[in-house]
């Protein structure tokens, strides 16, 4: 029998699964806390949300939340969540996964889920590398950064996630960081209430792998989020992330359009009339 812990969020977490596996200084704990805090503040019915994740460090988030939850295969959280959303429109799937999972191996699913406007919230922890496998470079790693598979510096161009998801058709697109906890939590609350495909990129430090290899301490990484990130209203295509330069955060897209389930229901009405 696990010890009962008196905490206002204890009902929102699988206390028997804690402590979590994440490294000291990792931002995923803050993302997880922001998510359950948002559910708590909204008094969201926990039986109406399914937390889904892919593979990697962020993929473990689904295992700590006291909702129905599913840890899928690498990159496949979004099609899995599409199956949920279209089968049971009363349920809001919330995907918490990493940048590599969602934009490399799962990139195709991401653009198509956004294009269809599946009603779901995607919280993407962007730590600029593949943390779980040992900090290899990925589709978000800035140019010249050193990783075990880019020992001479990264030669590839990174994706601008907010621009990519906006152009794919998402109805809500935001970027925050684990330093901006209040804005992050409020953004998650907005995404939970939004009827449509909502995407929140969360910049998050990977201290053990990526940080150490690039000579950034955990405090340096958190300080950087504070000092280089500026809340501005710009077109998503202007929100590239370049090392040493200002990073634009905030809300990029907030529009309304019929969700995929709305359209499916209309189709049923049209074919049965």
């Amino acid at each position: 029998m696990t010890e009962q812990i008196d905490h206002y969020l204890a009902d929102y977490l699988r206390m028997d699964r804690l402590p979590h596996i994440w490294c000291a200084g990792c931002g995923l704990g803050i993302i997880l806390k922001s998510y359950v805090q948002a559910l708590y503040e909204l008094e969201y019915d926990l039986d109406k949300v399914v937390t889904v994740s892919g593979i990697g460090c962020a993929g473990r988030a689904s295992g700590y939340v006291n909702t129905d939850a599913f840890h899928t295969t690498h990159g496949r959280a979004l099609p899995f969540a599409t199956g949920i959303s279209t089968s049971n429109p009363d349920i809001k799937p919330v995907v918490i996964s990493g940048d590599g999972d969602l934009f490399a191996i799962g990139g195709n699913h991401l653009i198509h889920a956004a294009r269809r406007n599946i009603n779901m919230l995607v919280i993407c922890s962007n730590n600029f590398n593949y943390g779980m496998t040992g900090a290899q470079y990925g589709p978000t790693t800035p140019r010249d950064m050193r990783t075990p598979t880019s020992p001479y510096g990264n030669i590839e161009n990174p994706f601008n996630l907010v621009s990519l998801v906006s152009s794919a058709g998402a109805t809500m697109v935001s970027r925050w960081t684990v330093y901006h906890v209040h804005q992050l939590k409020n953004s998650i609350k907005k995404g939970l209430q939004k009827n449509g495909f909502s995407f929140i990129e969360v910049l998050s430090p990977c201290t053990t792998g990526y940080g150490r290899l690039n000579k950034m301490s955990p405090t340096d990484m958190m300080r950087d989020l504070r000092d280089t990130c500026k809340i501005r209203k710009v077109h998503p295509t202007e929100a590239n992330i370049e090392p040493g330069e200002e990073v634009i955060i905030g809300d990029f897209v907030d529009i309304e359009k019929p969700t995929y389930t709305d359209v499916l229901d209309q189709l049923t009405r049209r074919t049965t009339e």
Binding site: R14, D16, R17, L46, D47, K48, V50, V52, S62, G63, N66, T67, D68, A69, F70, H71, T72, T73, R76, L78, P79, F80, A81, T82, G83, I84, T86, S87, N88, D90, I91, N108, H109, H112, L264, L267, T268, R270, T271, T272
Partner: protein, 381 residues
């Protein structure tokens, strides 16, 4: 046609029958990516599902299709996908996930010639081993092989029932010949179609352990939104569904996943025997090839050779016990299949040391009755 079950006689192709079988079985979610020769299943579902308020999604690829099918299955739906060999190659990762998380679902493979892109419009029976061994790790799979349009309907219904009973993906291994062949289909009235539904938990949510099984070895299945708040993962997990990397948990889990099918082999496997009581030469065949074999044994009988046919309806789990029994007193066994040697390996293993003659057939057509007859004659000498 908006009624759920089109009771009566139809002149249709096998893909149509598969789609209607799914509808009759209560399939509420279907996802697929277009691929020859399975596309007609999607096309028929696309026209029927909206009228029935069911969900059809055409995915960006087969990987997404099967992943969504698992999501739908855990949302309480009976769910299916249909594809051909190249699509199965892409799906294997999540077929493993369905086995591991015990997601009931049906996968139709309308087989075509391979490897790779192969012969898209031409039939083959060359994905039999892929179906069995394609997913990584230790898995058991259930696979059914229809030989007619009627069986495309009947076995699709049955595939859903098996998937619900054993909480496992079930394959329907059709092929381009049957998928595109027009024949009579007789759809029974709804009351005559047996429907099996997954076992639901009988405990209150705090007491529910999503991967705790009784002697049936199949855990009761809660679905999303029912208040059980369960967690499921493709990682090795304990009875709570939580990741557990211990040797003991891996051993216990993998044994249960495999044994729930292995130990029910005799209950699951279906075969059909024709003139096997007195046969000296036994033909083993399945799917479209069994139709040629049925003619071949008649031809042999008219020549005075006592030939019999054992048609395999269930390919996996392999009905070795039945073959052993039927082949006990025969001089030899003929195996005909549309590949370069797949299920014949299982037959050889089952009837050892009885001689086995194999007829490989590559490219569109099954073996002809004459080709099978020739081998029967050889073994009867």
């Amino acid at each position: 046609m908006s009624e759920a079950i089109p009771t009566g006689k139809h002149f249709v192709h096998g893909d149509w029958a598969c789609a209607e079988g799914a509808i009759a079985a209560g399939c509420g979610y279907f996802a697929a990516y277009p691929i020859t020769p399975a596309t007609e299943i999607s096309e028929h579902i696309a026209s029927r599902f909206p009228q029935l308020g069911r969900r059809f999604v055409q995915f960006e690829d087969e990987i997404g299709a099967i992943a969504s099918v698992i999501g739908a299955s855990f949302s309480g739906m009976k769910a299916m996908t249909a594809t051909s060999g190249p699509g199965i190659s892409l799906m294997l990762e999540n077929i493993g996930l369905a086995v591991m998380t015990e997601a009931p679902c049906v996968i139709v493979n309308v087989m075509r010639g391979g490897p790779s892109t192969g012969q898209p419009t031409m039939g083959a029976q060359a994905d039999v081993m892929q179906c069995r061994w394609g997913a990584h790790g230790d898995v058991e799979i259930i696979a059914l092989a229809p030989q007619s349009v009627q069986e495309c309907f009947d076995l699709t219904v049955h595939a859903f029932n098996l998937s619900e009973e054993y909480r496992t993906p079930v394959f329907v291994l059709s092929d381009a010949n049957i998928g595109h062949m027009y024949e009579k289909l007789e759809v029974p009235v709804a009351e005559e179609i047996e429907i099996v539904n997954r076992k639901k938990p009988q405990v209150f949510p705090p007491d529910y352990k999503p991967y705790e099984a009784d002697e049936s070895m199949v855990p009761a299945m809660a679905c999303f939104g029912e208040g059980y708040r369960f967690y499921s993962t493709g990682l090795t997990h304990n009875e709570m569904g939580y990741p557990d990397m211990s040797v003991e948990t891996q051993d216990k889990l993998v044994r249960r996943l495999c044994d729930k099918i292995r130990r029910n082999k005799k209950k699951i496997t279906m075969t059909e025997e024709t003139m096997t009581e007195d046969c000296e030469v036994l033909v083993v065949a399945y799917g479209v090839t069994a139709r040629s074999a049925a003619t071949a044994i008649q031809m042999a009988r008219s020549e005075g050779i006592n030939a019999g046919l054992l048609r395999l309806i269930t390919l996996w789990p392999f009905p070795d016990w039945k073959i052993e029994e039927v082949a006990e007193n025969v001089k030899g066994v003929v195996v005909a299949e549309m590949n370069y040697g797949q299920l014949v390996r299982e037959v050889e293993r089952s009837v050892k040391p009885t001689p086995v003659e194999f007829i490989p057939k590559l490219g569109e057509n099954p073996s002809s009755p004459d080709e099978i007859l020739e081998k029967i004659r050889g073994l009867a000498k």
